[in-house]
């Protein structure tokens, strides 16, 4: 901001001040013109909902009904003490922990393979990542056909071994296993690619030095690579927990009304917009979901700032 001053401005401080003021106003006007639409949209469709959810969550209110009863914290009590509420937490925990742990474990193994200097790995990397960008709706439909107990691809595999396919859709536990498998299939590539980037940032000399000292590949992995992947592992734990807790598309397509698969976001949808139309309860779930995710993200930011190493 060092525009040349005219002689009159140098000699005349008040005029200079006015000019600076004018420029300040103009800067603010531009700033607002550039930023206001985005900020207003964020206020109206992100911040306002956060606040109004708190109000809705204290109502006993059917979606679309003109009137509602104020019930205080009753919806929260239901969420944390009723069988429905507790079952949602159980399903969410099983779903989140198993998808996070399994995708990260297989993702790391795949990254180790992709990190080898062999031709064809670029193609493999692209292919492994590809399900991550696909529509959850489309993916769910494809896997519905695979899991179909009568004519699905998997039923033919079972038949090949002389067994009958279990009915994945009737048994609540099997239905949960099924959506976990599909969710891992879709998100595995993300873990693999992030781990691959982590592996490639490990200094080659460290690994070479260890090899000269006769450390085998397994030893090299556990004493050098894995500890140095600490920040990557931490980053992945956080991001995969966040996305697993927000799983929806696959669950909705494979088990439309929820059948042992009601994780938190799916339950939020079913309660608000499914047959029950318990909008107040749905809002209570939203509030708790936001707090949970907010805490997880804040933890991540604090740790990343401290640059933790687990070596």
């Amino acid at each position: 901001m060092k525009a040349a001053l005219t002689p009159s401005e140098v000699q005349d401080p008040p005029a200079q001040k006015a000019a600076r003021h004018r420029r300040g106003v103009r800067e603010w006007a531009t700033f607002l013109a550039f930023l206001a639409p985005n900020v207003l949209l964020i206020l109206a469709f992100i911040y306002y909902p956060l606040a109004s959810n708190i109000y809705y969550s204290m109502l006993d209110w059917r979606l679309g009904a003109a009137s509602a009863d104020f019930v205080g914290l009753k919806n929260y009590l239901t969420l944390f003490t009723s069988p429905t509420g507790l079952d949602m937490w159980r399903v969410t925990l099983i779903f989140t922990i198993s998808t996070v742990v399994i995708s990260m474990a297989i993702g790391l193994l795949l990254a180790l393979v992709l990190n080898r200097n062999i031709p064809g790995r670029t193609f493999a990397r692209t292919a492994v990542f590809s399900p991550y960008v696909l529509s959850g709706v489309g993916v769910g439909m494809v896997w519905n056909f695979i899991f179909d107990p009568q004519i699905g691809l998997l039923s033919h595999v079972f038949a090949f071994f002389g067994a009958n396919s279990p009915d994945w859709y009737l048994d609540k536990n099997l239905a949960l296993v099924m959506v976990i498998v599909v969710y891992i299939w879709k998100n595995l590539g993300y873990c693999a690619v992030v781990y691959l980037a982590g592996l490639q940032s490990i200094p080659k000399d460290l690994l070479e030095a260890a090899a000269i000292d006769h450390a085998g590949p397994v030893r090299r992995f556990f004493t050098i690579s894995f500890p140095l992947l600490g920040p990557t592992t931490f980053f992945l734990i956080i991001t995969t927990i966040l996305s697993s807790m927000q799983a929806f598309d696959i669950l909705r397509i494979m088990t439309p009304t929820g059948h042992g698969t009601n994780t938190i976001v799916f339950e939020l949808f079913l309660q608000g917009f499914g047959v029950y139309q318990r909008a107040g309860y749905s809002a209570a779930i939203s509030v708790v979901l936001f707090l949970a995710l907010f805490i997880i993200t804040t933890v991540q930011m604090r740790f990343v700032e401290r640059k933790v190493h687990y070596a």
């Binding site: 531009t30 550039f34 930023l35 639409p37 985005n38 900020v39 949209l41 964020i42 109206a44 469709f45 992100i46 911040y47 306002y48 956060l50 109004s52 959810n53 809705y56 393979v113 200097n117 062999i118 031709p119 064809g120 790995r121 670029t122 493999a124 990397r125 492994v128 590809s130 960008v133 696909l134 529509s135 489309g138 439909m141 695979i146 179909d148 004519i151 691809l153 038949a159 993300y190 691959l196 490639q200 940032s201 920040p231 990557t232 980053f235 991001t239 929806f248 598309d249 909705r252 439309p256 976001v265 939020l268 949808f269 608000g272 917009f273 749905s282 979901l289 995710l293 640059k307 190493h309």
Partner: protein, 343 residues
């Protein structure tokens, strides 16, 4: 973090390293690993093979070592075998989808399925169009994706520019507000946004599908990081030439940061195209649905087992366009979606 700074700020340097790798005989396979990693990989392999291959009598490309008799067994056992298994698991469902979409019902409801359709037919696609207004739904999806992405990217560009280059007080507070918005998952806003849009009369309209998602915290955040890496002299020089903010934005910042903007645009396009929950809630008439919602409807009206042919045809319509875009532009999309992993 131990992971060093590496982003698409220097596409030129990266491409250079990649070319060096190819010339040195490292093979395109290594040189083009992707935006987030290729710089390092290509750089490293470039230097090693340059060193090893300084004379014509060198041992040739580094990967060839993996195929010497001594290493061949290991390469296959710990390299190609797991890769092939992974590829089979990833690719098979998608291949199965495409093939089934061309099979007549008789070849789907069968105990002895064949891999290849015996009598390939496009009837399934016609059947989808019979059951839902497919043309309208496809058009809706294309409009929502195109208009939504365009507006979001423009808003992200202007917002990021304002936050980085316009000197006003309190802008950090505004940035903090956007940062917090980044942490709010869209599902949390589902019910209140439904109330707002319904009250405005936006149910079963395209603008109703579009409006709540237009504010963009993700794009703003990503582009702000990118814009901050620009040398400030570049803009000061333009300022001396009398360029205002508008001109500086479109003549300097946007062209220089084009790769980052392309990344944001591609990620936004893919996300919009796949978006399901909000359009599901806000539309209930078939003519106003987007493709994922239309497919959800198709699946719920087609109860019987013979309908998998139609359903796979529907799945092809939503999956294959993204696969094509991804195959062509994967390095941008991967780097955009794994943002934050490589700092």
């Amino acid at each position: 973090m131990s992971v060093e700074s590496r982003n698409e700020a220097n596409p030129g340097a990266e491409a250079g390293a990649g070319n060096a790798g190819i010339i040195a005989g490292t093979g395109a396979g290594v040189a083009r690993t992707g935006a987030d990693t290729s710089g390092a990989v290509a750089g490293v392999s470039g230097t090693t093979s340059a060193r090893g291959g300084s004379g014509r009598s060198g041992r040739g490309p580094a990967w060839r070592e993996a195929f010497t008799p001594r290493h061949l067994g290991e390469t296959i056992l710990t390299g190609y075998l797991p890769l092939l298994i992974a590829l089979a698991v990833i690719v098979l469902p998608l291949v199965w989808m495409v093939i089934a979409s061309f099979k007549p019902p008789g070849e789907i409801v069968t105990l002895t399925p064949t891999l290849w359709p015996q009598e390939p037919t496009a009837d399934n696609y016609a059947a989808v169009a019979d059951r839902v207004p497919l043309g309208r739904i496809l058009l809706n999806s294309i409009i929502v994706t195109a208009v939504g992405s365009l507006i979001k990217v423009v808003l992200a560009i202007t917002s990021a520019y304002a936050l980085v280059f316009i000197k006003v007080r309190f802008k950090n507070i505004i940035f903090l507000g956007i940062l917090v918005a980044l942490m709010v998952p869209p599902e949390v806003a589902l019910l209140p946004n439904y109330m707002t849009i319904s009250a405005l009369g936006g149910r079963n309209t395209l603008w109703g599908i579009l409006l709540p998602g237009l504010g963009t915290a993700f794009g703003t955040f990503l582009l702000r990081q990118q814009f901050k890496t620009l040398p400030i002299d570049m803009l000061e020089a333009a300022e001396l030439d009398g360029a205002g903010h508008w001109k500086k934005l479109w003549k300097i910042v946007v062209p220089v940061c084009a790769p980052a903007i392309a990344t944001v645009a591609l990620v936004t396009i893919v996300t919009e195209w796949n978006s399901f929950m909000w359009p599901l809630v806000i539309t209930d008439t078939p003519e106003n649905m987007t493709l994922p919602v239309g497919l959800n409807l198709l699946q719920s009206v087609e109860g019987q087992t013979g309908s998998y042919g139609y359903l796979m045809a529907g799945a092809v319509l939503v999956i294959v366009p993204v696969l094509i875009v991804f195959a062509a532009l994967q390095r941008h999309i991967v780097s955009g979606l794994t943002q934050g992993a490589v700092k």
